[in-house]
Symmetry: C2
């Protein structure tokens, strides 16, 4: 069917070893024959068979990237950074989407292993059984998620600090009943944000209230629904701290429809810092994670592990997020305003 080095060898009157040498630019072939071989290859529209090459090289020059939801711009940006960085190093990227399903994630990991990707970058859906899974994986991996595992590098944002930072900001705005509109209950990142939230509350003499915490999928529909639920309750919160920006956009949508003044009577905050949060009409207050840096760092870490350049140490990289205070938070008006001191 397709042209192989044997065809070229026959046509050029040499052995196929010489063809291989000429094509890969290795020495051991005279300028003259090399030139002739390259000519024949071009004439026959030859394309080297990567699969055969990979088989003998024991390298596929391919990276796996497993994300929960690339329709979320947060992950799309990470994917873009990974693809770019990989490409610069001569690697292609197989992308798969778990839809936040642990079973899908597991299946994808097995498939990646079968496909013999040289390594995999994974945003794990859930937390359980980290170590066991990654040790048996049998291929270099970098997690986009902090894990204590001794065998795998990770790149993550300090979610606890992000949660803390935002909660302090909301307290500074005068909010006292801060609801947390969380993402999936077994998402570790989300739980860490929640921890930061609780710490900030306690530091300011408030007791975290389980009634004010809800979980659900990382979708705007969920944000809308949870916001509605909270705001129609009999003691509505004065702030909604959302597990991510997409949820926050849904919450914002509800607030708008319900005619609630943001931020005068309700502060809304997100997490991630996706670019749509900064639109003039939105200006959502959020915690910015450096997505490009995360993608690049993870990819470079993985490439180092694969190519054995750098020390093969397991690295834990924790990036510090920043507060992006925009229009959806600010000094709130409350009739029963209490005097508050905050550092």
């Amino acid at each position: 069917m397709s042209v192989t080095i044997k065809d070229i060898a026959r046509e050029a009157g040499v052995s196929y070893a010489s063809v291989s040498r000429a094509l890969s630019g290795n020495r051991g072939v005279s300028m003259e024959t090399s030139k002739r071989i390259l000519e024949v290859a071009k004439r026959l529209n030859y394309s080297p068979n990567g699969i055969a090459r990979h088989l003998v090289n024991q390298r596929s020059k391919t990276l796996g990237l497993i994300l929960p939801d690339i329709s979320n711009p947060f992950f799309a940006d990470i994917a873009l950074a990974v693809i770019h960085t990989a490409e610069k190093a001569g690697y292609q990227t197989i992308l798969s989407n778990t839809d936040w399903e642990p079973r899908t994630q597991e299946r994808q990991l097995l498939l990646m292993r079968e496909q013999r990707v040289d390594g995999v970058i994974l945003k794990p859906v859930q937390d359980a059984g980290d170590d066991i899974a990654y040790e048996n994986l049998g291929l270099p991996a970098v997690l986009l998620h902090y894990s204590g595992s001794k065998v795998v590098s990770c790149v993550d944002t300090d979610h606890e600090y992000g949660g803390y930072l935002m909660t302090r900001h909301l307290l500074g705005c005068g909010c006292r009943r801060i609801a947390f509109l969380g993402g999936l209950p077994d998402s570790r990142s989300n739980l860490q944000r929640l921890e930061g939230y609780a710490r900030a509350l306690r530091e300011n003499g408030l007791t975290p209230d389980a009634q004010l915490v809800r979980h659900g999928p990382f979708t705007s529909e969920n944000g809308y629904a949870l916001a509605k639920e909270f705001l129609q309750g009999h003691t509505p919160p004065d702030a909604l701290f959302c597990g991510n920006d997409v949820i926050a956009l849904g919450a914002l949508q509800y607030a708008q429809e319900a005619g609630i003044q943001v931020p005068q009577s309700l502060c809304i905050a997100g997490f991630d810092g996706i670019s749509y949060a900064s639109l003039a009409q939105i200006r959502l207050t959020t915690i910015r994670q450096d997505r490009q840096r995360m993608g690049e760092t993870a990819t470079n870490l993985l490439l180092d592990a694969i190519e054995g350049n750098a020390a093969p140490t397991v690295q834990k990289i924790l990036l510090t997020p920043t507060l992006l205070a925009q229009a959806t938070t600010g000094e709130i008006n409350r009739s029963e305003s209490l005097p508050i001191e905050i550092d």
Copy 2:
């Protein structure tokens, strides 16, 4: 290094042909031995080597997807649909991003061919030389872009009609100086939208004015810049029809900052129908393309071509877009309002 069928064969005391048969579930092996082999395989944590398998099968069970910019939610949604559909059929997806660079696109295509993907889905960056390129490509392809080529299937939206539809809508709002904030000048889709725009103008007795048409990258920065340029001119337009939603969001941003009333004194429209266009605070009027359907259809077409199920005819699928009239367009106020009739 890693476990192969030979290891299993030795361990189980059979030939490796039997192992292969047992693992792939082919007959020719007794229940008894099969069970023993599978046990050994599990015990040794065996993972079949996809590369070797692909070499002999002449199939990689991998699709290539080449998009200009996955950080644009329009393409991210398409990517998601493709990945899902491919996965259901047992195919993995290699994703690459051209950044709208023809040279990158060309390089990616060659890489995909080397990698022996079974087929490729491509949103071409530009128009030139379609036919030649795809015939020599040597692998099944589906374009996300209408092309007259005899050799390649395509799935696309009727951009001309979309442009027409939107322009008629804007005219219906009373707009008379409708500027077109286009994307890249060699993007065919964009030019088709422009054609529809011109047709609608002419049908309503207006002459398209080249002064009102500008091109640039498909980014919000460009939308912002072009909007500024137009609106600071001495005869500003009364509507901005943008080449896509991302551009429109940038234009909207400028309008907001400049304190221009939308839609009372300026209508703004986009193209694509990304989900962020429908946020309560934005409600951008746009032309909705069915991204999921596009991704699914393209993938199914490609899979049919690969697996030779359906008739191997080249198909040209043109989807009809719909107008999504939201808050950024509407009856505009103009002192010098002229009587206009529109069907």
